[in-house]
Amino acid sequence: MKRARSIALLFALSLVIVACSEKAPANDGTSDGEGKLVKVALILPNAKDDFTWNQQAYEGAIAAEEAGSFQLDWVDNVGQDASSFIPVAERYAQEGYDLIIAHTFDYGEPVKQLAEKYPDVNWTWAGSGLPEDLMENVAAYEQPFYEGSFLAGILMAGASPNGKIGAIGGFDIPACHSMVEGFYAGARLLNPDIKFEATYLGTWFDPAKEKEAALAMYDAGVDIIGVCGVPTGIIEAAKEANKGMVGYVNEQESAAPENVLTSVAWNTQLTWETMAKDVADGTFRPGKAYHVGLAVGGIQVALNPEYKDQPNAEAMTLYDEVLAKVKAGEFEIPYIPEGSAEDVQVSI
């Protein structure tokens, strides 16, 4: 068969190439010595310039590396499925990385398998809700967006002329569900009669559809839309309809200063540094999950002064109160991974 012959030729040729080429320089990074830096590998499922989830992880990691917190290796566009993740992660494990960050919830199962195989490597992944018998070298870092969305919800309720807000999520995963319901819960705290709609798109990467979903909401009377997913299309819709939205993970105010009320910004640099420091100190994973949230500055929600409808004074007071109490440990923002915020009693 000609094609088999072609393939055989290709193999033969490649052997010739291997014989002729020099071995690649070994990528071993810093050797142990003074100032031994933790070797961190960051594995991103999609493009590092996706404006939100992957990008924020990447930028935080680069910032941490430049600040000298650890030594970094990263790879993006790995793919969401386990069989794409495993070869990549296993290579890092074999090369003696100290901490491997698997940046999506779908990597959970393969991480657990690999952690058993490589007990000397520390693994952490973007998970939530962990089994009791999680092994010692695996931790999860939660994405406490719901804390930020709660605060944002207060602002949204205070800035909504119609008393109607909404949220658009990519998939109904716990991080998004809790975030979506978080907007609602926070808004209800300020205004118990607030009206709220939620849409799930079934995709992360279709800006045209996001835009249409947002326009559909604005047409239905929604004033401000919170987002759990890539928001580029929604920003466009907000500009077009001259309404509002809340940025996701990254600060998106610069894209549309008058239409972005605030962003639920995720300080990934702090999150990565917290975990890397524990690895360096030998105290990795004091509990199963890292919750680097609002109280410590892991999540930041800052009102955009240029937004077209500033929230009323009542909202600002409540916002300040909630934030202060969270930081002081006196108030815990509810985590609603299932069901509706309507079924949760919140009082401050």
């Binding site: 094609r3 088999a4 393939i7 071995k23 690649a24 499925d81 779908d106 809700g129 089994p131």
Partner: protein, 352 residues
């Protein structure tokens, strides 16, 4: 849509004089070298020294037993689905729905694996395989039925059914069959009794044996049975096949069912060997890439198996190159696609 004229490689047929064959080899070599050069330019543009990068590609894929095992594991889903696709493709039926059939199979097999209270792998695993094959086969059969009895073109129906299958899967793992202890949207973990572990003494899972077995089985089916003969005749000329007494309607349904069941089997193999849960991320467009695999293999099961191994090796080698030279994944994928193109060109040039 009728199959292409004369697409099937008749085993054993070798054409042309020695001079022509030598010319063919030379042209293929030139095309491959051209591909390597273009790829090399791309690599250099991305900041990696081409020769060393290629070396790393091959070393990553074959230079260690680890690499070989990884390459084989990458090849498994592509091989199983690709081998299955040879059957309808040879009959001129374009099953574009392998992705959806994969999902349905993974779902059916996965649910059996998780909820059937049986402890012995020797009983449980085959049952999950049967469930997966039944699910994937039925999903494909439906499209085949629509084509045979209602004239609905299978390209559209299977394409639409891909999406529908995915949404069904997403719903089922989000609500009815969600793992109650885990907030993430996925099913419960597949119990140890249903897992396809590594073959003792190696680091490659049992799925590779399934793939090899199926390759031989389907190759035998196509080359040595009346059914296989009828499939080929249908592909060459459906009207002549009808006239010669082949029940094309039944054949259409059968070839779809066969390829659907193999795609479903690939689904459960992935779930039991690699993924260990059922969720929305069990496939990286395997059903789709397998179409390329089947056609690269010229619709012959052995060819498809080899093509799957080829793609698997490139994937693993690519990971190596990327980590050593820190080049963007996008450029690697581009080079992979470029290689496939050049393989096609080489093969066509040789035929002339």
């Amino acid at each position: 849509m009728a199959a292409e004229a004369a697409p099937i490689d008749v085993p054993g047929a070798v054409g042309g004089s020695a001079m022509q064959r030598a010319r063919g080899v030379l042209v293929t070599l030139i095309a491959i070298i051209a591909g390597l050069v273009v790829g090399g330019v791309a690599l250099a543009a991305a900041g990696a020294p081409p020769l060393a990068a290629y070396g790393e590609l091959v070393r990553g894929a074959f230079g260690s037993s680890f690499g070989v095992y990884q390459s084989l594991e990458q090849a498994v889903p592509l091989a199983i689905i690709g081998v299955g696709l040879c059957v309808p493709f040879r009959a001129g039926i374009w099953n574009i729905g392998a992705e959806g059939q994969f999902y349905v199979g993974a779902l059916c097999g996965g649910l059996v694996a998780i909820y059937l209270p049986i402890d012995q792998p020797a009983i449980l695993i085959p049952l999950t395989f049967l469930a997966a094959m039944a699910g994937g086969g039925a999903w494909a059969y439906a499209a085949g039925w629509l084509r045979a009895h209602r004239g609905v073109n299978e390209i559209v129906s299977t394409l639409m059914m891909n999406y529908i299958a995915l949404f069904i899967l997403l719903y089922l793992v989000r609500i009815p069959f969600r793992d109650p202890d885990n907030l993430i949207i996925q099913s419960k973990v597949v119990p140890p009794a249903a897992r396809l572990n590594d073959i003792p003494g190696t680091f490659v899972h049992g799925g590779i044996l399934v793939a090899v077995f199926l390759t031989i089985l389907i190759a035998w089916l196509l080359a040595r049975t009346p059914f296989g003969f009828h499939v080929g005749v249908m592909g060459l000329n459906p009207e002549a096949a009808e006239a010669a007494g082949v029940d094309t309607k039944r054949m259409i349904k059968r070839v779809m069912a066969i390829s659907g069941s193999l795609a479903g089997l690939a689904g459960i193999v992935q779930v039991e060997a690699v993924q260990l849960v059922v969720n929305g991320a069990i496939s990286r467009q395997f059903g789709f890439t397998a179409i390329v695999v089947a056609l690269l293999g010229r619709r012959s099961p052995v060819g498809a198996f080899l093509a799957a191994c080829f793609l698997g090796a490139i994937a693993v080698g690519g990971v190596s190159v990327q980590q050593v030279y820190q080049i963007p994944t996008a450029i690697l994928l581009t080079i992979q696609a470029l290689f496939v193109f050049l393989l096609l060109a080489a093969e066509r040039l040789v035929r002339r």
